[in-house]
């Protein structure tokens, strides 16, 4: 049988997507890892909300932001988005930690931009430096992504820009697709960040527990989760999607086994807004990698 790396490459290719993956058990000195382009820079899309969450939880830990303090969000003047507070018609008041929950559970763009405004880009960059994520950079939030997209496509609105991005006749080269300009990372950096969160290494244990709980609450079943439909398996993760880019970074825990961090990044050949075959390939590749690394197998 072909190596697991080759099977992962074949799975991405069959789905019509370029793919990058890294998987590693969450232990002090992992003896084995799986990598396919694991050190190449890739576009994060909403995966940037993970280091943003870490930065927010550091504020919770050092007392500069009270997790139960309330914040008022005006959806009409916030970043648009398909989920969460971003879809609301009327202003809402909620706590910082519930705002964080909405940012992670449904990738709420309005919530993320409010949090980014409070925490600041520098705090996110400090997280990257502290965790040794040399291949990662965060250049802005959702509002910045949309401004760049509108600029590059010559569209008059974000909606029009996204429509152009989904057109198979265009094959646009936009800077939100380019790791040199967009917020970018490597698959290996993201499994390292997840490992820090899972080993209580990045903030206080209490805050790491909060992050793990929020990541477990993510609702999307179509990517990494689709690779692990088995009862009892816990998948905690964060997706990222923009145009042809579909990502998820997650920690997969089989009952009684060592958790395994897996990061999957893809770039589809087709521009279509919905490509279920690519979503499924993310789950399949995660399954191939995690199965190879499961402590229960030995």
């Amino acid at each position: 049988m072909a190596s697991v790396e080759q099977r992962i490459r074949d799975t991405f290719r069959d789905a019509g997507a370029a793919g990058w993956l890294h998987a590693v058990p969450v232990v002090d000195a992992p003896s084995r890892e799986i990598g396919v382009g694991a050190d190449e820079q890739v576009v994060m899309a909403s995966v940037y909300k993970l280091p943003l969450l870490v930065a927010l939880c550091q504020r919770f830990a050092d007392g500069t932001i009270d997790p139960t303090a309330t914040v008022r969000v005006h959806p009409q003047s916030s970043s648009p988005g398909p989920t969460g507070v971003a879809t609301f018609l009327d202003p809402v008041t909620l706590s910082w930690r519930d705002l964080a929950a909405s940012m992670i559970a449904v990738s709420d763009n309005a919530a993320a931009d409010v949090i980014l405004g409070a925490v600041g880009l520098d705090a996110v960059r400090d997280v990257l430096t502290a965790c040794g994520l040399a291949g990662t950079k965060v250049v802005g939030g959702q509002a910045d992504i949309e401004a760049s997209l509108v600029r590059d496509t010559g569209a008059t609105s974000a909606a029009e820009a996204f429509a152009l991005l989904a057109d198979n006749d265009e094959a646009l080269t936009v800077s939100v697709y380019d790791p040199a300009f967009a917020s970018a990372t490597t698959a290996r950096d993201m499994t390292r960040l997840l490992s820090h969160v899972w080993s209580d290494a990045v903030v206080t244990p209490e805050q790491c527990a909060l992050m793990r709980r929020l990541l477990r609450q993510q609702v999307w079943p179509h990517r990494v989760r689709a690779g692990f439909p088995h009862a009892g398996v816990v998948v905690a993760g964060k997706t990222g999607t923009i145009g042809a880019i579909r990502n998820e970074v997650a920690v997969v825990t089989f009952p009684g086994e060592t958790p395994i961090a897996v990061a999957v990044f893809t770039f589809a050949a087709r521009a279509d807004a919905a490509l279920p075959a690519v979503d499924a390939a993310i789950g399949e590749c995660a399954r191939l990698a995690v199965t190879e690394l499961r402590s229960g197998r030995w």
Partner: protein
């Protein structure tokens, strides 16, 4: 150790290190395991350094192996580039090697070759599937290629998407005014393995119209007309001159079903890129 020998042995070392397994490395190299193991030992003996650790769980790198691996990979990549550059010198001024998909109409192939000739060069064409063409351009065996879009073209550079008007081919005498009239026919089209992205896009577009055809692999327009004339299938062609007994042409669905192609190349951009792209977008009615 002679230098050619060194490169050959480094190739074994890099393969085993990357696969973490002698058997997998042998598979990748198209060899059996014993010569791979022997080659690694020979390399270690000649260098006087142990590169790999062998345990029941697999193969790992020693500290020396980890230090030397990136330089081994760099040497191999440089050797490959050296050979390719030498090849390019050999053919530089005389010919441009261009690949095209079989679905590109004869008119366009001729227009490309003619344009290249007028620009003072000579075109040598190869007809192959999108997957094969992308591989050949990536490997430096072709200078550029006209491939189906969408396709996985990484790490190549691409030109604009060109849409060539296409029409449906249906069994002669059959009334086809809507997609529903194609319902019980198979779809004769390029095999999915030739380019999964474009193949899946075509099937998805037909499903959106209410069809869910079985895919009948037809690598070229010839295979398509054979299946259509037999009354088994419908197909698509971008070749306006393709008119055969037993096959009727029908315009359905508009631009959505046009043939999308684009030029791909490995940097630097071929000098005659504009000549080729102009030929692809050329207005055939304006030519004698």
């Amino acid at each position: 150790m002679a230098s050619v020998d060194l490169l050959r042995h480094l190739r074994l070392f890099v393969a085993v290190a990357e696969e973490g397994h002698f058997g997998h490395a042998a598979d990748r190299l198209g060899m059996t395991q014993p010569p791979v193991s022997q080659g690694i030992r020979r390399l270690e003996d000649r260098l006087g350094v142990t590169l790999l650790t062998r345990t029941a769980r697999g193969v790992g790198l020693t500290a020396a192996g980890a230090d030397l691996l990136p330089r081994a990979a760099a040497l191999l990549a440089d050797a490959e580039r050296f050979t390719e550059d030498a090849q390019r010198h050999r053919g530089a001024h005389t010919e441009l090697r261009i690949g095209v998909v079989p679905q590109l109409p004869a008119w366009h192939i001729a227009a490309v070759v003619d344009g290249v000739r007028r620009a003072g060069a000579r075109a040598v064409t190869t007809v192959a599937s999108t997957v094969e063409l992308v591989g050949a351009v990536t490997a430096g065996q072709l200078d550029c290629a006209v491939v189906h879009h969408p396709a996985l073209v990484h790490p190549l550079e691409c030109g604009q998407v060109v849409k060539l008007p296409a029409e449906f081919l249906v069994p002669a005498g059959r009334t086809v005014q809507r997609f529903a009239h194609l319902r019980e026919l198979a779809l004769a089209a390029a095999p999915r393995s030739h380019n999964t992205a474009a193949s899946d896009l075509l099937v998805d577009s037909l499903r959106a119209k209410g069809l869910d055809p079985v895919l009948l692999p037809a690598p070229t327009d010839r295979d398509t007309v054979a299946a259509v004339a037999a009354g088994r299938a419908f197909g698509l062609t971008a070749d306006p001159d393709l008119r055969t007994p037993g096959v009727d042409r029908v315009a359905l669905g508009g631009e959505e079903f046009h043939l999308r192609v684009r030029l791909v190349w490995r940097p630097p951009t071929p000098e005659l890129r504009e000549v080729i792209e102009d030929a692809l977008t050329g207005d055939r009615r304006g030519v004698g």
